[in-house]
Every structure is written in C-alpha cells, then in structure tokens.
C-alpha cells in the first residue's frame, strides 16, 4: 500500500537548512493499523505530511497504492488527497457553518459526485459512525467525540486507500478516545488501512504496529503485543 524509500526532507529558510527526515524507509501493507510515535521535533509530523501528500519529500521515492507520488505535481496532489487519502485531524477540522452531512459531502463534491448520490453516501457514512440521528446538526451542536466521528465519516466516504490520523484523540477525554479507537479498530477489521500519529502510548496500544521516530530517523518498528480493545 505504502512504499517509502530513502526519503529525506530538508527545510530551507534563506540560508538556514534544517533536515527533518534522514533516509526514511517505510512500508505499510494493506489492512495494517500503524501508530507513529515520537517527541515533538522528532519528524513524525513532517513524515505524516509527506504521507498525506500535503508536502513533497526533498528526495527519495514514495509509492502509494501503485502510484509514484515522487513525480506528482500540486494538481496531482489534490487529486490523490481526494481519492486515495482520508484525513482525521486532532482539531477535527470541520467547517462550522455546514451541517455534518454537508461536511461529509465535501470530499465527494471535489470528486465530482452528483448531489443526490453524495447525500446518500454521506448519510450512510454517518450512520456507520453512529450519528444517523444527527445528520442535520452543525458541528457546534455536537460533542467533541461526535465531531471526530464526523471527521472519520468524512475520511471514509471516498473509499480511500489509507486513512491518516494526526493525533485523533488529542482533543478528547479518555472515554471518547476509547470510542474513537474502537471505531478505528472496527474499520481496520473491515479492511481499512490506517496510519495514526499519537504521543499517547496507551492509544498506540490499540494499533497493530508501532513505529517510533527520533531526530528524523525511525528508531523502533515493532508489532504490538497486547493490543487494547478488540
């Protein structure tokens, strides 16, 4: 699903150069559930941005679902983000003026799907994350955990190759966090591939494999022994 080889990322700011990633090699197979951990400044966020096609690697190759991303331009990037990637953010990143259904419709809108089909698929996705009775609410009318479920529905709705979650439980209480992780586990069991950045070890325990970054390199990559949940 993901094949990353010798990826480097160097930020240039005038004369200053800062290397955030050093020769990263990383593979994710279909139906994996990977957590990425590391202190701030370890390079894990940069890595997620490159995975998410929000940023280009300085060098190296990145193949996502058979597509060589290394040669993609900005226009290809937006299409790949739309079709292949589902984002779940720490801050939910829902548009407050739209209803949750309209929020879930957004990726399909950019994919050029007709309004009627969009609406049906959005409602289906919301039912799937347990919000079938809230479809006309706006994000401000529901709880944080519910908002993150809307974001998951939105990430799923274009049937992406992979879901990228950036600290998805960072803004949630522990009860909601567990709920969200259970949803991720359920999706993963259905065959959805997930890569999740977190700094909470107990949240990482819900995943199948843990990758640890430090100073721009991967220092640890191991399967989780005693998974939580399930």
């Amino acid at each position: 699903m993901i094949d990353i080889q010798n990826v480097n990322k160097i930020y240039r700011n005038g004369r200053l150069e800062l290397q955030a990633l050093f020769d990263i090699n990383f593979r994710v197979k279909k139906e994996e559930f990977v957590s990425i951990m590391g202190a701030s400044g370890s390079g894990k966020s940069t890595f997620l941005q490159i995975l998410g096609c929000l940023d280009h690697a300085t060098s190296g190759t990145y193949i996502l679902d058979g597509i060589n991303i290394s040669q993609a331009n900005d226009k290809d990037f937006s299409k790949i983000r739309n079709q292949k990637i589902g984002f779940v953010f720490q801050a939910f990143n829902l548009l407050p003026k739209l209803t949750i259904t309209e929020n879930v419709e957004l990726p399909m809108m950019y994919a050029g799907i007709k309004p009627k089909e969009r609406r049906e698929r959005a409602v289906d996705a919301l039912i799937k994350v347990g919000l079938g009775n809230r479809i006309k609410h706006t994000p401000n009318e529901i709880s944080g955990g519910q908002r993150q479920r809307v974001a998951i529905a939105r990430a799923l709705v274009n049937n992406p190759a992979i879901i990228l979650a950036d600290e998805p439980t960072g803004n949630l209480d522990s009860k909601s966090s567990v709920e969200i992780m259970n949803i991720f586990q359920g999706l993963n069991n259905e065959g959805v591939t997930i890569v999740m950045v977190t700094h909470e070890p107990d949240i990482a325990e819900f995943t199948k494999r843990k990758v640890v970054f430090r100073d721009g390199i991967i220092i640890d990559d191991a399967l989780i022994q005693n998974r939580r949940g399930i």
Binding site: Q49, G52, L54, D55, D74, K75, S78, K79, R81, N82, Q83, F87, F89, N93, L94, L95, K97, L106, P107, M109, Y110, A111, G112, P115, R154, N158
Partner: protein, 406 residues
C-alpha cells in the same frame, strides 16, 4: 464540482454574512446607480431639448450684425440676395422695440413689441390662430398698426371673454413715450395655461408676444430700412449649418467685413447642445466611475480579509482534495456575485433615482439597453479585476500552513 454548485456555495457564504455583504456592495450601488441615473437623465434632457427646438422648426436661422453701425446693418438688398439663394425658402427682416402696454386702468407693464416682414408668422414661427386672421401682405405694404397677440395676453388684457370678441378692439402700447393704438386682428395659441386669476395673468404682459408688420413698427420708431437682425428658413435637404455659414460669408463679402455677423441656426443649437450634453454626461460619468473604483478596492479589501479569516477553511478544503483552481474559482465567483448583484441593484436604484429626479425637473429619463450592458460589463469587470488577486492569495495558500491557522 461544477459552476452551479460553486455559485450556490458562494451565495450561501454571502448570505451567511449579510451585513458585511451589504456594506461591501454599497460602493457599487452608488457607483452604478449614479452612472445610470446620469446617463438616463442626460439622454432625457437631450431629447427634451431637441424636441423643444425641433418644434421651433429645424431649418430656421437668424443672423445678427455684431455692430449697430451703417457698415454692419443688413440692407433690404442683402435680404433680397439671401432670399434668392437656391437653398433658402425665405428670409425676412425683423425688429424689436422696448415698450410698455397700458391696461384698462391705465397701469403700464414693460414688454417688447416685434415687427416682422411677411412670412414670419407662416413659415419661420408658424402660429395657430384661436380667432381673427394673420397679418396680410396688404398690412405689410401699408404699414397698418395691427397686432397679433398671444391668447394669454388677450385673456390678461380683455378679461375672460371669448377670443372672437377680442378681435377688432384696440390695445394701447407706449413706444418711446408715445401712446400708440394697435388694432387686434388675431389671437394665437400658446402652451401657457390661460385659466388663471387676473393677477396671475398680468405677469404674462412681459412676454415678447406682440407682433406687428415690420413697416408699422419701423414707421413709429422712425428707423431706416436697414436692420441689425434677419431671420430665415432653409429648405429641407440641405446641410443647415453649412448654408448658414455661407449666408454669413455672403454678408461679410457684401459689407467688406471679416467677421461681422453672428449666425444661429436651430440645427447648430441642437448640435451644440448635443455636444455639450455628451461631454457633460461623459465627465460626470467619469466622476461617478471613481466611486466604482473605490467600491472595487473596497471589495478587494473585504475579500482579502475574508481569505485571511477563512484560511483554515481553505486548508481543510485543500486537504480534502480541492485543487488550487477550484479554490481560485470559489473566491472569484464570490467576488463576481457581490459585484453582479450590487450592479443589478445599482441599476434599479439608478432607474428609480433618474425617474424621481427627472419628474421633479419635468424631464423624462431615457433608458437604453446600452446602459444594462454597461452595468453588466462594469460589474463583471470590477469583480474580476478586484476579485482575482484575493482569490489568487487563497489558492496559493500552503495547506499545511493554512491548517495551522486559527
């Protein structure tokens, strides 16, 4: 995502912030509204003015000597020469004299009496008689002291009696301090309202609406045959301005003068007014256009603020797959919607404004499809000119940076 959906989304955005949208549009309302009103009133005034002069008669011209000396005065022979020109229907001498009219109670009102040769009341300034007859050739030759007066003056002088009963009566006019009695032979129609009180009607004594044969007035004031002013009528189908100019040249040559006469033709006046009004309308429109530019800058300003405020939204949309092109389109369409809606409302404001103002001055505002085209083209251009830059700013935002924004 097609244009229709983008428009729908932009509309929703604008309606979500009605107060700001209205204020943003205000400059455009005023700009488009005032340009439309000025153009409509300008055209209306031009037409109104033209109508008035065309009623007076296209083809009518008048020539006035610039000096009152013997070298300049126009002789009967001059008039004959002009009258013999191919392009000329008629040319006549005329003279005007200050006088006063003495009413039944002996009260005097200052006014002007006009003496004209045959042809004036039939060709140059045709009249419609309410009663009586026109001045005849025999009156002209004999220099009879007969008088044509306007209906309104008849009513003022004789009171509210039938016009027929006024005919044959005498009116006393004081010319050069000598009272002279004129016999009323005809009452002609004017557009003035004759149904007014006696007191009101007295105001009309001052009008230049007393016409007598040229010879009669000339005899009374003891003037010679030469005059300082003549009037005439050019035949249809000739270029009136150039014929009038030619007459001037003929007079100058006959009098060995360089530029001794001022010539006025109705066509010339209409042309002149047309030109003045066009320039004036353009000038005022240009001024009003400044408010359009100011309005456009206002729109750009608000759009830039909007982009700033919605940075995070832009980041989210980009993360979800919106291309730069789609973001650009979304913001350009928002700007276009603002200007096009504002332009449309401005057009309505201009329309109502022009009709209201026009009604107060008795001018009928004239609208044309060109004005609709103008408003539409201007609105769209302003939307594009001032909308593209903010939209470009939005489109080029880095999604990572944008997602970090508050």
């Amino acid at each position: 995502m097609n244009i229709r959906e983008t428009v729908k989304m932009a509309l929703k955005q604008l309606l979500g912030n009605k107060g700001r949208t209205f204020l943003t549009m205000l400059g455009m309302f005023i700009g488009i509204g005032s340009v439309i009103a000025i153009l409509a009133l300008g055209t209306g005034f031009q037409d109104f003015f033209k109508d008035k002069f065309i009623n007076l008669g296209l083809g009518v011209f008048s020539i006035e000597a610039k000096e009152d000396t013997i070298e300049y005065l126009i002789t009967p022979e001059d008039v004959q020469v002009i009258r013999n020109l191919e392009e000329i229907r008629t040319a006549i001498r005329g003279t005007s004299e200050e006088c006063s009219i003495r009413d039944a109670k002996g009260k005097e009102f200052d006014t002007w009496i006009t003496g004209v040769e045959d042809g004036y009341m039939t060709l140059i300034k045709p009249i419609t008689l309410r009663a009586g007859r026109n001045i005849s050739v025999r009156d002209q030759e004999a220099g009879s002291q007969v008088l044509l007066i306007a209906d309104i003056i008849g009513k003022a002088y004789f009171g509210n009696i039938p016009y027929e009963d006024m005919i044959g009566n005498n009116i006393e006019i004081v010319i050069e301090k000598q009272p002279v009695s004129f016999q009323v032979i005809g009452i002609y129609k004017t557009e003035s309202d004759v149904n007014q009180s006696q007191k009101e009607l007295e105001k009309y004594y001052g009008l230049k609406e007393y016409i007598t044969p040229f010879k009669a007035l000339n005899n009374i004031i003891g003037a010679g045959e030469d005059v300082s002013m003549i009037a005439g009528l050019i035949k249809d189908g000739y270029d009136q301005t150039s014929v009038a100019t030619r007459i001037g040249q003929i007079l100058n040559r006959r009098h060995h003068l360089k530029d001794g006469y001022s010539i006025m033709s109705v066509a010339q006046i209409v042309d002149m007014v047309d030109k003045i009004m066009s320039v004036l309308t353009m000038f005022v429109s240009a001024l009003a256009s400044i408010s359009l530019i100011v309005g456009g800058v206002g729109i750009m300003n608000i759009m830039l603020v909007t982009v700033k405020e919605r940075t995070r939204e832009i980041g989210i949309r980009k993360a979800l797959g919106a291309s730069n092109k789609l973001i650009l389109r979304q913001f350009v369409i928002e700007a276009l919607l603002i200007t096009v809606i504002a332009g449309f409302i401005g057009m309505i404001i201009g329309y109502i404004g022009a009709i209201t103002i026009g009604a107060n001055f008795g001018i009928q505002a004239k609208f044309s499809s060109g004005m609709v085209v103008f408003s539409t083209v201007t609105s769209v251009s302003i939307g594009l000119i001032f909308g593209v830059y903010p939209a470009y700013q939005a489109a080029r935002l880095d999604p990572i940076e944008a997602l970090r924004a508050d």
